[in-house]
Amino acid sequence: MLGHVKKVLAGIVLVGVGATHLALGWGGEVRPDEAEVRAALIYNVLRFADWPPEQLAEGDEIRVGFWGSSEVAADFVDLARQPLRGHAVRVVHVGEEADLQGLHAVYFHGGDRAEIQAFLNAVAGSPVLTLTEIRGGLRMGSMVNFFRVDGRYRIEISLSDVKASGLTLKSSLLRLARVYERGKLVREIE
């Protein structure tokens, strides 16, 4: 019996050693985590977007709003230190509808679906690029929705909503996305 207990203890020690090292190396992360990848995706999509000149003039800063995910916003702040196509980037935390004022793009992630729907309704038709990561995001009125297949990110775009808002997205982005027009699939991912 005693021998048996010792062996079990030996196993626990092996696991315990892992835990000790874990405590030593709590902050040792290097590989990209999900929030970093999300932030990089948003940054990259913005590279392919054009706003009407009255909305974004030379020298203006691009104002990007984040709702519901402070972690992605924090990672985006790091990325946005470098100018985006010649424009400085400002990150805005969106808490209520009034915060949407003056934004060029806004990203919604997690949280209450009805609340996101209300925000999307509030900016519908205006030149604000809406980005989401939510099931059925395009049907809720989002222009760009991220989803995952086998652990890899994919992009779906509602081109009709993008056009209606006066924005344009470059074809090199559309080529990498699943594109819908008025709810109908018009282009699969290449």
Partner: protein, 685 residues
């Protein structure tokens, strides 16, 4: 004998502590030495924003577990063994690779046979574990179990092995009672170019494989491969060679196409030959004479699998799958088996509103058996056609802004033996925080009796303890019903830090109508009365319960050091129902180890050197005179050029030999698993 076991056990104890000390030391030194380098590296380098959008989209998002994140929300205890895990473990067989997953019990019986199980019933033919390779069932309805010596693929082509513990009747149908194993190979799109592998060593005497993948046209890719090996037998408890040998050759192909934006298909197939020997004591003739012999198994098999999936519109898709499988086994002198299986399945998934995802479909399987009764196993009738029809429906409802997912449904399956079987399940997942999930489930699963249990008979053993030998024979029962399980499970899965994933599950299984072997009246088999037959008749007079905990902790400490610790605990009790007198099947309750621990470390030492250590502790199986044991496998690999790798793998390094299981079925010898070393070269072109 008992003293011997005790002595060996105390030696092992000493070695166990030595291993702990060495391990702790190794980790301490390596971590501290390399930690400094790590801190330096973190200072520089580009950011993800520097990657192109294409590169970002091709980046596989993995959590600390390396598990594709689709499994994160699964309301079931799922473990994923990736192709990379297999490569770095040094495992050379699918059965050995399964020991990487928490909750799996893998015991090597001899050179070519394994007992592989989940949550009990740990026998060579683990009757409650369903095994599929690329969607093709390799669970044999003849014995209810998997012949692991026949199940092989090019391990380099394995994308992942999904191990789902607990009942999977809703998705996979009957016999997915205690668990399901899905071996999934890579698309040929991911295995382009050439690969040559060659190696050899002690037990792994010589092995090699060649694979080549290319493009047929813009939308279609292919690969072809061939592999072969020769393995050498182990030793008996006296250290004498069992003289066993096992060699096998296998070839196969795979085509993958994406003809339109909405369609994807694949067609793959393979052919194999395997010859293996099992050392045993044959008991021949009515006098039950005792002779040591080598029985042999000549096995041939082939299969073709086709898959097609079509995206109908957003959230809706159709999947079709079909396969043909042929197995021809000559297990001399035990029995001969020939089986043809044709299977077709269809599945339609669609979204109903914003909250519901519905999956429904059905399938049909036809099996034709042509068997020949042998010296120890008989069938009546020997030939048989069997049909299996199933329909299923499942709805997944998302509530509270996708923070709560509830899925429920049932499979309705008809088989020739027990008629319609219903296998419902209800599961829910709660998203308590962004990276933390709790889940729970209640499910019913059934196991259909095997052909042997319904229409066969077999020799269990020859009891020589008395004055005259007594042959113990089990006779099948044509009224044997399906075994039933109601399982209750719950678990937590979460990223405690971005690099540390914890997965814990608890379960309670309640079994009923388990197949039992009821002792009949003993009778003489010769006029002199010097040999006897003890019959056992099949019935459903056992019930049982099991409970336990399975856990895994995966920690990506740095980008060069990864650790995984796994543990499982199992209690398993069977008992006779009123009128039952079984003691044969009842003994299965004592054939599973209670505790199992595993610890793996994967280290990248610089850009070109990999060091992997894999230790396992397994509790004793006293019923089978198997002592507890520690094993340690180690792998060192050096990438000489980007396309050339040399690796040396040491297996079972802690002891010269140890016993993992004892399959006394048919009085086979009880070999001990020896320490082994092999070298391997991999060349990509």
């Amino acid at each position: 004998m008992r003293n011997e076991v005790r002595m060996k056990s105390s030696i092992r104890k000493g070695q166990s502590w030595a291993v702990v000390i060495v391990w702790v030391g190794l980790w301490g030194i390596m971590s501290q030495a390399l930690w400094g380098q790590e801190m330096e590296k973190r200072g520089g380098g580009g950011t993800l924003a520097d990657l192109s959008l294409e590169a970002l989209l091709s980046l596989q998002i993995v959590s600390a577990s390396q598990t594709p994140d689709a499994y994160f929300d699964t309301p079931a205890p799922v473990a994923v063994v990736t192709g990379d895990d297999i490569r770095r473990s040094g495992a050379t067989t699918l059965a050995d690779a399964l020991a990487l997953a928490p909750g799996m019990t893998v015991s090597r019986i001899d050179l070519s046979r394994w007992a592989v199980s989940v949550r009990g019933f740990h026998t060579q033919f683990a009757k409650n574990l369903l095994v599929l390779i690329d969607g093709r069932s390799v669970y044999t309805p003849l014995f209810s179990g998997t012949t692991w010596e026949l199940q092989d693929v090019l391990l380099e082509d394995v994308d992942r092995i999904e191990v789902i513990r607990g009942p999977g009747g809703l998705v996979w149908g009957a016999n997915a009672v205690n668990g399901v194993i899905n071996v999934i190979t890579k698309s040929s799109r991911d295995t382009q170019g050439g690969q040559v592998v060659a190696g050899g060593g002690t037990t792994e005497r010589v092995f090699g494989s060649v694979r080549y993948g290319g493009e047929l046209n813009e939308t279609t890719t292919y690969r072809v491969y061939g592999k072969g090996f020769l393995r050498d037998g182990f030793v008996d408890s006296e250290g004498n060679s069992t003289l066993e040998e096992w060699h096998s050759y296998r070839t196969g192909f795979r085509l993958d196409g994406e003809p339109s934006l909405w369609d994807k298909w694949s067609l793959h197939g393979g052919f194999y030959y395997s010859y293996s020997e099992i050392a045993g004591r044959a008991t021949v003739g009515p006098r039950l004479a005792d002779e040591v012999t080598l029985s042999t198994a000549d096995n041939y098999g082939a299969h073709v699998i086709g898959n097609w999936s079509h995206v109908i519109n957003e959230g809706s898709r159709l999947e079709l799958k079909g396969y043909y499988d042929w197995v021809d086994r000559d297990v001399s002198p035990t029995y001969k088996e020939q089986r043809h299986t044709v299977d077709a399945e269809v599945k339609h998934v669609f979204e109903l509103g914003l909250r519901n995802q519905v999956a429904w479909g059905g399938g049909y399987r036809f099996m034709q058996e042509n068997n020949q009764s042998g010296q120890f196993i008989g069938f009546d009738p020997e030939n048989r056609d069997m049909h299996l029809v199933n329909l299923f429906v499942e709805d997944t409802l998302s509530l509270l802004d996708e923070r709560l997912l509830i899925s429920g449904g049932s499979k309705f399956e008809h088989n020739d033996f027990t008629g319609w079987e219903v296998q419902p399940s209800l599961r829910l997942t709660g998203k308590v925080a962004e990276e933390h999930r709790v889940w729970g489930s209640v499910a019913r699963a059934v196991r259909i009796p095997s052909r042997l249990e319904r229409e066969g008979n077999f020799l269990v053993t020859v009891d020589r303890r008395g004055e005259f030998p007594v042959a113990w024979y089990v006779f099948g029962d044509r009224d044997l019903d399906a075994e039933e399980l109601i399982a209750y499970e719950a678990g937590y899965r979460g990223l405690v830090t971005p690099n540390l994933m914890v997965d814990v599950s608890v379960f309670y299984h309640d079994y009923d109508k388990l197949a039992s072997a009821e002792p009949g009246e003993r009778r003489a088999t010769n006029p002199e009365g010097t040999a006897f037959l003890q019959p056992f008749n099949g019935a459903n007079l056992l019930k049982g319960e099991s409970y336990g905990v399975e856990s895994s902790v995966q920690w990506s400490a740095t980008d060069w050091l990864r650790l995984q610790a796994i543990h499982s605990f199992l209690r398993f009790n069977l008992k006779n129902k009123p009128g039952g007198q079984d003691f044969l099947v009842l003994s299965d309750q004592d054939k599973s180890p209670r505790h199992q621990f595993g610890l793996r470390t994967s280290m990248d030492l610089g850009r070109d050197v990999e060091l992997d250590l894999w230790g396992r502790y397994v509790d004793p199986i006293t019923r089978l005179d198997v002592s507890s044991y520690f094993t340690l496998d180690a792998r060192v690999a050096w990438r000489y050029r980007p396309n050339v790798e040399f690796a040396v793998v040491g297996q079972n390094l802690l002891e010269s030999r140890h016993k993992e299981y004892s399959a006394r079925f048919l009085n086979t010898l009880e070999p001990e698993i020896e320490r082994g070393v092999y070298g391997k070269v991999t060349w990509l072109f």
